[in-house]
């Protein structure tokens, strides 16, 4: 369910956050679904419980999930909407890079080609 890169620059807890959001965005995780418990996920990924706790706490802070102590942690009703809003920021990020490439003289066609490639890659998958 999760894929961890232990050698990259991005911290593990952030990878968990990103991937959980992606699972919500893609509809794999729906409102009311229970997230894997800290302990279970800790064992599955060989990641320290504290690290996962940190990730989950942040997701909770963002309103994507809510914890019922003693019962588990569940995806909220607002999760899909909130993740959707987050995507706009990602799009702005992409646009910022595009502006930079433009300033550096890269032709538009090449950038557009990359975007199409990204979407084509997904269709094939």
């Amino acid at each position: 369910m999760f894929q961890i890169d232990r050698f990259g620059r991005t911290p593990i807890y952030e990878q968990i956050i990103d991937q959980t959001q992606r699972l919500i965005a893609s509809g794999i995780l729906k409102e009311g679904d229970q997230l894997p418990s800290v302990r279970a996920l800790s064992q599955e990924l060989s990641v320290n419980p504290n690290t996962l706790q940190k990730a989950y706490s942040e997701l909770e802070r963002r309103g994507l999930c809510i914890s019922a102590p003693g019962n588990g942690r569940f995806v909220t009703a607002d999760a899909v909407r909130l993740v959707g809003e987050g995507l706009k920021e990602r799009l702005e990020e992409l646009q910022k890079i595009a502006e930079e490439l433009c300033a550096a003289g890269m032709p538009v066609e090449q950038v557009l080609g990359s975007v199409n490639a990204a979407y084509g890659k997904e269709i094939r998958a």
Copy 2:
């Protein structure tokens, strides 16, 4: 000449590297131009000299500049070409975000639109 964000996540020395590359890519810094001295820049930006030294060393390692001990540090002839190659990495970064947006269900048109907007913005400027 440089704009430093002391509180962001990206280290200062990396900001120096990025901005220098951008100055080269956009033609503001040309072959043979002298880079500001560590001492001078240190004072101007209120940044630790060691930090600037680290940035300059990395730029040298990448072949973008070369130090003439006692005379200063100068932009190399290959600098423009080398920076151009570096842009491919940025393009890959953009593509990665595009893939993510695709996975989350954002329509292609919106992403392509952002890219065009980025380039359009530049044309108007």
Copy 3:
């Protein structure tokens, strides 16, 4: 009769205790009244019977109710008086917040105003 918040920080059994005390304090539950059975309440609130057992045991320990095995659980004669004494703790809690607001520089008038508002609100009701 009871309102449970499964996601808040205060444990469910404590919510049961608090609300029962409030029912007694406000006169809705009187001496000799029977409390809902663990089984019935468990079903009504979808709460684990153990949790309710814990709440009721604590109420008994405080002398607010007493169980007649096989017959049910009843509010004691001392209940009202005992709950009244418990209010002192709440008052101390209020005083603690007031001290804090004082330390932070909030004017007394504003705090006194809030208290009056609280009582005014009740009179109108």
Copy 4:
């Protein structure tokens, strides 16, 4: 500078948060002031660095301070205003308790007396 209660119900990291806010509210900590380093405070209070890190992270999330990695952590310009806004919530909390006491039949005078006592206590101190 900080006073920790290791046996109370409120977690240590929350005590740190509260007390820091109080220091800002009372003007002892001002804009641009450096907060004690995680390590230093850890030693002074005999509290684990992680616990303090957690507290500081939360303060940062609330916009009360900002970290400059490698340099320290500093009180933001908005801190005083933000803490002020937080006080309103505390006041509402107090009002809620007052309403509860009212419902339970405690006379207004007693509550007002407690508030005055809280403010009087501060004046004497």
